[in-house]
Symmetry: C2
Subunit: 251 residues, 2 copies
Amino acid sequence: MREARVSTLQIIPIQHVPEITPGINLSECLRSGIKASGLEIEKGDIVAATQKIISKAEGRVVRLTDVSPSAFALLIAEQVDKDPRLIEVILRETRRIVRMRSDVMICETHHGFICANAGIDSSNVDNGSVTLLPKDPDRSARELAQYLGCGVIVTDTFGRVWRDGLLDAAIGISGVPPLVDLRGKVDRYGNSLQVTVLASADALAAAAGLAMGKTEETPAAFIRGFHWEQPKTDDHTIKALLRAPERDLFL
Amino acid sequence: MREARVSTLQIIPIQHVPEITPGINLSECLRSGIKASGLEIEKGDIVAATQKIISKAEGRVVRLTDVSPSAFALLIAEQVDKDPRLIEVILRETRRIVRMRSDVMICETHHGFICANAGIDSSNVDNGSVTLLPKDPDRSARELAQYLGCGVIVTDTFGRVWRDGLLDAAIGISGVPPLVDLRGKVDRYGNSLQVTVLASADALAAAAGLAMGKTEETPAAFIRGFHWEQPKTDDHTIKALLRAPERDLFL
């Protein structure tokens, strides 16, 4: 966790990304989209890409007609107003059901993300299919980062507790600090700042979300101007942002 | 709630803001800071300002030596490792204590924000004093917006449930949409997007937080390039972002 510095932060939609299908070279699609958007990658740049295109490229797409709901899924379907096959897919991606009501299931995924429907989504995919979250979003980010030569954030759109509206958050990172630490710095009154650890990866994801239209063909955004002290080895992982329930003072 | 559009979103630190003291003309300080940062306000621009400078300008500063803790504050101080006078100030700003442990109090403020210490903060203020949140952050935003002729977001830095690290969020807005609604739009597969209401004001606040150093003298940021369909009358209020507990599916 390092001090970060911003001159002008620019968030630019990456356009001209073709439709992503399983097995496509997503890195190359993004590289050409970046170029076609008039951009050239420089040191310190970051690309944010939605989980949707990552999942599609990685074949994390399930056709509901191929799914047989388990007895447990059928049981849940008595309480939750969803297609039992969709419930089956949600359960496969779920480590723990956090909340359940007739219209929603909040799940903890095997990665540790807490989100509606375990991140299963049916928008921007052909009718009757759903996307699952990438199996290892940090690895997905790392592969893109190596190809593109910049930092990468994989984003998803999550609901929040206590606040309405959705916000994009980071679910995978490479070459991007999850947190920047301002603890131990001294403000201009000589007070040391006790606890100011900013969730930089989530803030960058939220900013990128403003540039990535949900319906438009801009599934990625380019971020320039976020500078941080880069460690010699990039050992950042999204786990740094996941708080263990026993440390969760808000719950 | 309207569709929003982004070309290039720019987040620029506003520098050269002098030290803010009670009764100072904050609007004028920000206007000259904007100018000194080489910026000129255009239609659609947004200024994000931390609650800290708003609170200081509005005299929402309390010197702890002036505070006598109530019997209730002294009772709480047996369980919470904080100065009983600070606890007294926290309680005055609190509608409901959400969680309490030896090292932290999570409170719902009279405005309805759920945050540590009811938003009371002792950083960036002279030793022995604390700042309270503005009494009516929407009004504070409106006053700045009228003076500056642009949208305004008042931000504060909040902890989150389930995720480590802090994120700046909006606590007051004027001329800025709290939410942008993508419901009812159709994606390129012809699926209508069921629930995609982005918390635009919070996303903008989070982005601005990246540009506003906590220790540095950049208590405000300038946002350019966020376009949305502006309603004829600006009836936006931060209340649109506050979810009633009974509608909170995550809890």
